[in-house]
C-alpha cells in the first residue's frame, strides 16, 4: 500500500512536471526572449524599420524622385546645399530632397533584403529538404553541389553572378545575393532533417504506417524550422550589407528612380569631401538595421537552444 502510494505520488509529480514543461518550445522561447533586453532591442529596431518602410511614401515631406530647381541651382562640384526651409537635410548630389529619399529608401532596402533572403530560403530548403528526406545518392549529389557553392567566398560568388548581366538592376542584385545564401539554408535544413530521421517520433510515425510524404511534411519539416528561421533573420542582415557592397562595386541598380541605402551610400562616396552626411546617414541606417536583425536572430538562436531551457 505504501509502495503503491509512493508510485501514484510519483506519477502525480511527473504529470505536474509535464504540465509545467508542457509549453511548446516556441512559446517557451518567446517567453525567454521577452525577458532578454537584447531580443527586445533587436525586435524593436526591426519592427520600427518595417513600419517605416511601409509608411515612408506617405510621411516623406517632398517627392523623392523630383529634382528641385531651388536645390539644383546651388549645386556645384564643391557645394551641395545643406538644410534649408522645406528641405530638412538639404540636397543630395543630384538635387533631390535628401531626407525624403532617405525615408523612401528604407522600402527598397527592405524589399531587396527580404526577396533575396526568400529566394535563398526557398531554393535552399528545397535542396536541403530533398537531400534530408531522400538521403542516398540524391543527398550526396546535392551536398556536393552545395559544397562547391561554399568553395567560393560569398561576396565573390555574388559578384560572379551579378556580372553575368550586362546591366545591373534590383533583380540582378536580388538573384546574386539570394543565391549566395542557398547553400547555408540547404545544409541547415538537411542537418536538421537528418537528426529528425533517427528520432523516436519519426520512427513511431513510420511504424504506424504513415506515408513518407506525411512524415516529412507533418513531422520532420515543422520540427526543423527553428534554426532555419534564425538563419533567415541573420541572412537578412547580411543580405542588406552584401547588396550595398554590390552597389559600391557598380553592380547595383543605377536608376535614379530607385532610392536604396546601399546605392545612396555607394554613390555618396564620391562627394565625401563636400558633404559627408550623404554617406553618414545611409550608412548609419544600414548599420542600425543590420544590427537589429542580427540581435534578433542571435537572441532567437539562444532562446531556441534546448540547453538554455529551464
Amino acid at each position: 500500500m505504501k509502495l503503491l502510494k509512493r508510485k501514484s505520488d510519483r506519477i502525480d509529480e511527473l504529470a505536474a512536471g509535464a504540465g509545467e514543461g508542457g509549453t511548446s518550445l516556441a512559446a517557451d522561447a518567446l517567453k525567454r526572449m521577452a525577458r532578454s533586453p537584447v531580443a527586445v532591442v533587436g525586435a524593436g529596431v526591426v519592427a520600427l524599420f518595417v513600419i517605416l518602410s511601409a509608411i515612408a511614401p506617405w510621411i516623406a515631406p517632398k517627392d523623392p524622385f523630383t529634382r528641385y530647381p531651388e536645390l539644383r541651382s546651388e549645386l556645384t562640384p564643391t557645394n551641395i546645399p545643406g538644410p534649408m526651409p522645406g528641405f530638412l537635410l538639404g540636397s543630395d548630389q543630384n538635387g533631390y530632397d535628401f531626407f525624403s529619399r532617405l525615408l523612401v529608401a528604407s522600402q527598397q532596402t527592405l524589399i531587396v533584403g527580404v526577396l533575396a533572403t526568400l529566394l535563398g530560403l526557398t531554393v535552399g530548403m528545397i535542396i536541403g529538404g530533398l537531400a534530408g528526406a531522400l538521403g542516398g545518392w540524391v543527398d550526396s549529389a546535392l551536398m556536393r553541389l552545395v559544397d562547391i557553392m561554399l568553395s567560393l567566398p560569398a561576396l565573390l560568388l555574388a559578384i560572379s553572378i551579378a556580372a553575368l548581366f550586362r546591366e545591373g538592376s534590383q533583380w540582378t542584385v536580388i538573384i546574386a545575393v539570394g543565391t549566395v545564401s542557398v547553400p547555408i539554408f540547404a545544409r541547415l535544413l538537411r542537418g536538421a532533417m537528418l537528426a529528425q530521421r533517427e528520432s523516436d517520433h519519426v520512427l513511431a510515425a513510420t511504424a504506424l504506417g504513415v506515408r513518407r510524404r506525411t512524415v516529412v511534411f507533418r513531422h520532420m519539416l515543422p520540427n526543423s524550422l527553428g534554426p532555419v528561421i534564425v538563419q533567415a533573420t541573420l541572412t537578412l542582415a547580411a543580405a542588406i550589407i552584401e547588396a550595398a557592397s554590390l552597389s559600391f562595386l557598380g553592380l547595383g541598380d543605377p536608376s535614379p528612380r530607385r532610392a536604396e541605402w546601399g546605392l545612396m551610400l555607394a554613390q555618396a562616396q564620391r562627394h565625401f569631401e563636400v558633404k559627408p552626411e550623404l554617406a553618414f546617414y545611409p550608412a548609419a541606417a544600414i548599420i542600425i538595421v543590420a544590427l537589429g536583425f542580427t540581435l534578433l536572430g542571435e537572441s532567437m538562436r539562444e532562446s531556441l537552444d534546448p540547453k538554455n531551457r529551464r
Binding site: 567566398p153 553575368l164 550595398a244 557592397s245
Partner: protein, 333 residues
C-alpha cells in the same frame, strides 16, 4: 598522417573538377557568348568569328571544355580588355600587394582578437565583456567599404596622420613585389616605413570582420573549456591559476580558433575587393573591382578561378593542420 593527406587531396579533385565545369558554364552564359564577352568593346563581326575559330567555339562542347582546361593549366587566361595586358601578367604583378595586405590584416585580427576574446570570456558578464561582444556585432554590421572611407576621412583627410591611398609614395626598387620587404632588402628603411604607413588604414579596415569572428570564437571556446572536467581536476590538484589558464584552458581553447583563422581567408579575399577599391591598393581585389566596372571577363574569369582554387587549397591545409593538432581527426574516418 600521409594517408590522411593523400585522401584529402583526392577528395579535393572532384570539387575542383566541378568548379572548372561551373566556370566554363559561366563563361558560356555570358551576354553575347564568350567571344563577344572576351573581346569587350573592341568587337566586330570578323573579330568574333576569328576568336570563335581560335578558341574552337565551332567545335563540340566537350572538345571546347578540354581546351579550356588546357588553357587553365598553361596559365593562359587571355588578355585584359581594360589594360590590354595578358591577365596572367597582371595577376603576377598584383599578387604580392594582396598577400601583403591580407597577411597584415590577418596578423592584426589575430593579435587583437585572441586577447580580447580570452579576456571577455574570463570576465563573463562584466562591462568589458558586454562592450567587446557589442563591438564585434557592430563591426560585422558596418559595410567594409564605408569603414574604409571613414578611416580615410578621419586619419588621412582630417588629421593628416596617414596616407590616404596607394601602396607607397616613393618606393624602393622592385625586387620581390612586396613593398615592405623590398625596402628592407635594399637597406632603404625610409621606404619600408613609408610602405608600412600606407598599410595601416587598409589593413585595419580589412581586419575588422575577421577580428570580430576571432573574438567571438575565442570567447565561446574559452567558456566551453572552462567548464570541462579536466580544468576542475587541475584545480583540485592544486595547480596555480596562471598555470591552469595557460596550460589547460588556453591551449585547448585555441584549437577551434586555429581552424577559424584558416577559414578567414575567404573573408579576406572578399573584403580585399572592397578595401582595395577604397584605398586604390593595386592588388588582386583592385584588379577585380576595376574589371567589374568594364565587364572585363577574361580578368573576372581568371580571378574567380584563382580565388576558388586558393580557397579550396586553404581549406585543405586547415584540415591537415587540424589533423596534426588533434589526432582524433586522423583516425576518425
Amino acid at each position: 598522417m600521409l594517408r590522411f593527406i593523400v585522401r584529402r587531396l583526392i577528395q579535393a579533385i572532384p570539387t575542383l573538377f566541378i568548379l572548372s565545369l561551373l566556370v566554363f558554364a559561366w563563361l558560356r552564359s555570358l551576354p553575347g557568348g564568350p567571344a563577344a564577352a572576351l573581346l569587350g568593346e573592341r568587337q566586330t563581326a570578323e573579330s568574333i568569328a576569328r576568336l570563335n575559330a581560335a578558341m574552337g567555339l565551332d567545335q563540340p562542347i566537350y572538345v571546347q571544355y578540354i581546351k579550356f582546361l588546357g588553357r587553365i593549366f598553361t596559365g593562359d587566361f587571355g588578355t585584359s580588355t581594360v589594360s590590354g595586358d595578358p591577365v596572367m601578367a597582371e595577376i603576377r604583378r598584383s599578387f604580392p600587394a594582396t598577400i601583403e595586405l591580407g597577411l597584415c590584416a590577418l596578423i592584426l585580427a589575430v593579435l587583437f582578437g585572441i586577447p580580447f576574446g580570452y579576456l571577455a570570456a574570463r570576465r563573463r558578464g562584466s562591462f568589458f565583456d558586454n562592450a567587446t561582444v557589442i563591438s564585434t556585432l557592430v563591426g560585422v554590421a558596418i559595410p567594409v567599404f564605408f569603414l574604409g572611407f571613414l578611416l580615410k576621412y578621419i586619419f588621412a583627410n582630417q588629421f593628416r596622420l596617414l596616407p590616404p591611398s596607394g601602396r607607397y609614395a616613393v618606393g624602393a626598387p622592385d625586387i620581390t613585389g612586396f613593398a615592405t620587404l623590398d625596402g628592407l632588402l635594399t637597406g632603404d628603411l625610409a621606404a619600408t616605413s613609408d610602405a608600412l604607413l600606407h598599410l595601416v588604414l587598409p589593413a585595419a579596415a580589412l581586419a575588422t570582420i575577421p577580428f570580430a569572428v576571432i573574438v567571438r570564437i575565442t570567447r565561446a571556446s574559452v567558456l566551453d573549456v572552462m567548464d570541462e572536467d579536466f580544468v576542475r581536476t587541475a584545480e583540485s590538484k592544486g595547480l596555480t591559476t596562471p598555470v591552469i589558464r595557460r596550460r589547460h584552458v588556453l591551449r585547448n581553447a585555441l584549437l577551434p580558433v586555429a581552424t577559424t583563422i584558416g577559414l578567414q581567408t575567404g573573408l579576406l579575399l572578399a573584403g580585399a575587393v572592397l578595401t582595395e577599391k577604397v584605398f586604390v591598393w593595386r592588388g588582386l581585389g583592385w584588379l577585380l573591382a576595376t574589371g567589374i566596372e568594364q565587364r572585363d571577363y577574361p580578368r573576372l574569369q581568371a580571378l574567380i578561378l584563382l580565388a576558388a582554387g586558393v580557397y579550396v587549397l586553404v581549406n585543405l591545409l586547415v584540415d591537415i593542420s587540424y589533423a596534426i593538432i588533434d589526432p582524433r581527426v586522423r583516425v576518425g574516418r
